[in-house]
């Protein structure tokens, strides 16, 4: 029941905003709605006892195996918490943005939240797919109508990519449902399918392509930097903070259980592609001239590592990847917020327009630096725990993979500290009259940094959440060992 409430709070708030359009109160209503969702999510976490929970179970279109089944285990709950924690921040980021039609912007954001929560709680493949595609729509409109330069061309490219992946996924699901004796699309039923190896080998790509694009991993990434750069700040936060985790979660829920042998067949390919992407994007980020695009490439690099860790398919790799999913979400939202804060002050996200700003904005510089420490995964930040686990997961598989993954700690330090220097350090080049971090900036960044440090020092709450489901999944698919 709480789960339905969880989905309905953002959905109904969004509908209210879209219908009534209370321009002035829109942001406040959205913020209250997202905080209420957060409260429900934390309540679910508090009540969670380590056993999978099935909350709602209704027939919808039985002929297609489509049923309205909601539930969660530790991994789904982690994604729900991640979404619920980040959305108040994403909404709050809008308070300084002054986009036109705040009612519509916030309605779209809340619809996106509702559908993504649906993705993370759906226990039926068709239902998952419907939420998955629905969550795209609000973001699509957000990009198309509130985006920056070249928004049409870029949005269309983004849309085509995602559409391609989505169609492949739909085909894959449909194929599986047809194979399933009772034509059930429930995850539990599909996981019990034992498809022949030949089928699994091609079906893997039908199912994984959508997620590979959504994440994205190399070489399916070329929509990402442009889209992140062009999107309005909040859109970028939704895409980078939450939406790409649907790719990670989908892989975990769909690809691994349904085509375990297909996964085993392609696993090393995917890991190498991901690692190549992680290094490739980190190298490119170094000389980027636009701060927002630089952060986009850094996210691409981190996502490569996440995917590689996930496909290591052992306790350290998968737990590390999931842990890092949370860390990355917090990181991306913080970094993009800083990009926005700099853009507000200097009028552009071009790095050449910045430099020496620490003299004028020492507090903002300190906050930026603390975020950078998480970005370079310094020990006692959240990211270190995730990366350390993923490095171990990859090492268990292959020392060279671990080596390739670990090189990113050098490349990450190179581009992050260079970016920090170009923005904040050096002489006061432009003599701009800019104000230091204000109360709003602190309210936004300090809690996120605190989350980073607390979970870096004491990661147990999150690790315990995913540990059980991951162990259980691993024991089911011994084929991948």
């Amino acid at each position: 029941m709480e789960l339905l409430v969880l989905l309905l709070i953002p959905f109904l708030s969004a509908t209210l905003l879209a219908v009534v359009r209370p321009t002035l109160a829109a942001r406040g209503i959205a913020l209250v709605s997202s905080l209420a969702t957060l409260a429900v999510a934390l309540w679910l976490w508090y009540r969670y006892r380590g056993e999978p929970v099935m909350a709602v179970d209704l027939d919808w279109v039985p002929a297609w195996g489509l049923r309205f089944v909601l539930g969660y285990d530790g991994t789904g709950l982690l994604m729900v918490i991640l979404t619920a924690v980040l959305f108040p921040f994403i909404i709050a980021a809008g308070f300084k943005q002054n986009l036109k039609h705040p009612s519509l912007v916030n309605a779209l954001l809340l619809y996106a939240q509702s559908f993504m929560l649906g993705v993370f709680t759906a226990q039926n493949a068709f239902l998952f797919y419907i939420f998955y595609e629905l969550s795209l729509l609000p973001v699509f409109f957000l990009l198309l109508y509130w985006g920056g330069e070249r928004r049409r061309a870029i949005t269309v490219r983004f849309f085509i990519y995602t559409l391609l992946g989505g169609l492949a996924l739909l085909f894959g699901i449909a194929y599986c449902v047809v194979q399933e004796p009772t034509h059930s699309a429930d995850f539990s039923a599909l996981a019990a399918l034992h498809l022949p190896l030949d089928t699994q080998i091609w079906l893997f790509w039908a199912l994984f392509l959508a997620f590979a694009i959504k994440l994205p991993i190399f070489p399916f990434h070329s929509w990402q930097p442009d889209t992140y750069t062009m999107a309005p700040l909040q859109g970028t936060m939704v895409l980078g903070g939450v939406m790409l985790k649907m790719g990670l979660y989908g892989t975990l829920k769909f690809v691994f259980p349904i085509v375990p042998e297909g996964t085993a067949h392609w696993r090393e390919w995917v890991i190498w592609l991901s690692l190549i992407g992680a290094i490739y994007a980190a190298v490119i980020a170094f000389r980027q001239r636009d701060l927002k695009r630089l952060v986009a490439y850094s996210s691409l690099s981190h996502v490569g590592l996440l995917t590689a860790g996930l496909f290591a398919w052992n306790a350290y790799g998968v737990s590390g990847s999931l842990y890092q999913a949370f860390a990355h979400a917090v990181l991306v939202v913080s970094l993009f917020y800083i990009v926005g804060a700099m853009k507000d002050r200097v009028g552009s996200s071009e790095i050449a327009a910045m430099g020496g700003l620490k003299l004028r904005t020492p507090r903002l510089a300190a906050l930026f630096l603390l975020v950078v420490l998480n970005a370079v995964a310094l020990p006692l930040t959240q990211s270190f725990v995730g990366e350390w686990l993923m490095f171990n997961g990859l090492w268990q598989l292959n020392g060279w993979m671990a080596f390739a993954a670990v090189t990113t700690i050098v490349l990450g330090a190179i581009y992050m500290f260079y970016a920090y220097q170009r923005v904040m350090l050096g002489p006061d080049k432009w003599q701009l009259e800019v104000h230091d971090a204000d109360g709003g900036d602190h309210l936004f960044l300090v809690p996120l940094i605190a989350v980073t440090l607390v979970l870096g020092l004491y990661p147990a709450p999150i690790l315990d959440l995913v540990n059980g489901p991951v162990q259980q999944m691993l024991s089911t698919f011994t084929v991948l060992r």
Binding site: F140, L164, F220, I284
Partner: protein, 634 residues
């Protein structure tokens, strides 16, 4: 009387004090005032020193060599359990005393040195944070806690090198230090993952206790030790990862003394000694360490010969002395290496603080060509600097004599060639140090400012460190002088590598070796006196020098080599991957795939109108069509 075990359970106070200082100084940086923040920072490090000293005094290594104190489970996943725990034993206590003791003196000194800096509270916050991280590094009970400190000191080093952040050259130096350290850290992370893979734990007691199960020369252990050593190369500035340390002199001088001479840069030596059991199983790694240590000792000493920046001379001297310490480790003489770490902490901190006092006296001047004749004006600085020079040059009875002699004796027992190389390095050391001493304090003053002696808050640390540099040799007095090598026996209770050390030299041989090095060092000093003590004309810029001298004075052009080999190609790669790889290959390729798909659907023209509702319709229609086809058509 509190027992050792009871006290050990309070050992978390040792890192907690400086951490608290860092937080308070950062939070109240505008309210404390220069003296307030300095006093707070210094007192908290002093408190850590007191707790460390109490631990040391209550420690009975024969009865109770090791106490592990677990605070909580840090990372616990599947079969991995990494506690947040401290290990109190002879090795960590030795390092704790050095870090907090020398650290306390340098904090005190900084109150005077940094007094007029507008960001003095930030400075003390960072210095305290560094102390915290360094203490985690040496106190950790497993490799991963040590690694927290290991990266933490790297961060503080970055922050403090770039402390005066409006200068782009300093910012570059700071980044260079961090990135080079991170290159080393790739080795450490991989070593840790490998050790975890092999042992299923990273606790020192468990890993080192079970390592004996692997035979001598086991390739996995050799690999792990080589990877650990890569990390040590970065942190302790060994070839090829040493070029960041001289540039690190961009930071305030107390930072150079504490971080880039006395403590952080010895972390690599600490790590090897801590893992000595593993290194004893890897003779190949020890040979590599010996070769790299010796080469670094000589290369850095040669560069030190012609430097004209007082801090650069000391920086290359530090790199060179670290080379000596690694040479000792490569020889299996772990206690000799740790002994040199200790005495070097005393005399190199003294020399850097003395240099700082000179720089302070001259209002910021660092070029020794513009110094000279300062011994009359800055008496205390001169006398203490002289003691430091005698100690580093290895003249009896100063501490450096004993620690360097220990390394040389071990080298002789191993191979006369290594001995000859290291002895030659010692003579280079004596030469550049006496050159520095004479050019700064003797002759006639060549600058145009009004030198003055520094205040007591600066000279008192100098005096204390001078006493330690003089008497530090007693800590490990060798048998030929009637001592019992107390430090070696103490460390043997913590590191099995030390317990396994054996040096068999006739007493007569030892006397001859010591006599030889003493005579040669004195001759070198005398030669330096003749050349520099009364000199009025000095070397110009490297461009005017003969080829070889110029090459050495330009640091063998290694920075330029790295720039050509790595930095520039990397920048080119970054730009090219973006302009060509992304914009000319990846994007068009994927656009092509998209367009082909669209044409196949024959909706390309309408889609390009950008009508959003049509896309949605297309998508939903597509979903339905596929559903129907797959369900009923197949």
């Amino acid at each position: 009387m509190v027992s050792f075990e009871q006290l050990a359970h309070l050992s978390w106070l040792v890192p907690a004090f400086p951490l608290a200082g860092a937080l308070v100084n950062a939070a109240l940086r505008r309210k404390l005032g220069a003296n307030g923040s300095g006093a707070l920072a210094t007192l908290l490090v002093a408190a850590s020193f007191v707790v460390s000293a109490l631990l040391f005094w209550s420690h009975r290594p024969e009865e109770h060599p090791v106490e592990v104190v677990t605070l909580f489970d840090w990372i616990h996943v599947g079969g991995m359990s990494i506690p947040f725990a401290f290990q109190i034993d002879a090795l960590s206590l030795t390092m704790m005393l050095i870090v907090t003791g020398v650290g306390m003196l340098i904090h005190l000194y900084s109150i005077g040195y940094m007094h007029d800096d507008p960001r003095v509270a930030s400075f003390f916050a960072m210095l305290n944070l560094f102390t915290f991280a360094m203490l985690l590094l040496v106190m950790g009970a497993n490799y991963l806690i040590t690694f927290i400190g290991w990266e933490g000191v790297g961060l503080c080093s970055y922050l403090l090198i770039g402390f005066w952040y409006t200068n782009p050259a300093y910012n570059y130096a700071a980044r260079k230090a961090f990135v080079m350290n991170r290159i080393g850290d790739v080795g450490v992370v991989l070593a840790l993952a490998l050790l975890f893979h092999l042992f299923g734990t990273l606790d020192y007691t468990a890993v080192l206790g079970r390592a004996g199960g692997f035979g001598v020369g086991n390739p996995l252990i050799v690999g792990a030790t080589l990877l650990l050593f890569v990390g040590a190369m970065g942190k302790s500035a060994q070839i090829p990862l040493f070029t960041w340390l001289p540039d690190a002199m961009a930071g305030p001088t107390p930072v150079s003394a504490l971080i880039h001479a006395a403590t952080m840069v010895t972390a690599g030596i600490f790590l090897v000694v801590r893992s000595s059991v593993l290194f004893e199983l890897a003779p190949f790694t020890k040979d590599v360490i010996l070769a790299i240590g010796t080469a670094t000792a000589l290369l850095a000493a040669s560069i030190g010969l012609f430097q004209n920046d007082i801090k650069k001379v000391l920086a290359y001297s530090t790199v060179s002395q670290l080379g000596y310490m690694f040479a000792a480790l490569g020889l299996g003489a772990y206690s000799a290496g740790m002994f040199h770490v200790t005495t070097h902490a005393f005399f190199k901190a003294l020399l850097f603080l003395g240099a700082g006092s000179v720089i302070h006296a001259l209002g910021g001047e660092q070029d020794i060509r513009k110094m000279g004749g300062l011994k009359g004006v800055t008496k205390i600085t001169y006398i203490t600097f002289l003691i430091g020079t005698l100690a580093i040059a290895g003249i009896f009875p100063f501490s450096g004599f004993f620690s360097k002699d220990g390394i040389l004796a071990n080298a002789y027992a191993h191979s006369p060639v290594v001995y000859a190389l290291l002895l030659f390095g010692a003579l280079l050391t004596a030469f550049y140090m006496f050159r520095l001493l004479f050019l700064v304090f003797h002759g006639r003053y060549r600058g145009d400012r009004r030198p003055h002696e520094s205040p007591a808050v600066i000279t008192i640390p100098l005096i204390v460190l001078a006493v330690l540099s003089l008497g530090g040799g007693l800590l490990n007095l060798p048998h030929v002088f009637g001592g019992h090598e107390p430090m070696k026996h103490y460390l043997a209770t913590a590191a099995d590598g030390v317990a396994g050390e054996h040096l068999h030299l006739e007493a007569a041989t030892e006397w001859i070796l010591m006599g030889l090095s003493t005579v040669l060092v004195l001759l070198t000093a005398w030669y330096a006196y003749g050349r520099f003590a009364k000199r009025t004309t000095l070397d110009g810029e490297p461009a005017d020098m003969p080829f070889l001298k110029r090459l050495i004075a330009e640091k063998w052009r290694i920075d330029e080599l790295y720039a050509t080999l790595f930095e520039k190609p990397y920048g080119w790669l970054s730009t090219t991957l973006f302009t060509f790889g992304e914009n000319k290959v990846m994007t068009p390729l994927m656009n092509g795939v998209g367009n082909v798909t669209l044409r196949a659907g024959k909706v390309v023209r309408r889609l390009q109108t950008g009508n959003a509702s049509f896309y949605l319709f297309a998508m939903v229609a597509g979903i339905i069509v596929f559903l129907l086809l797959t369900l009923y058509g197949v």
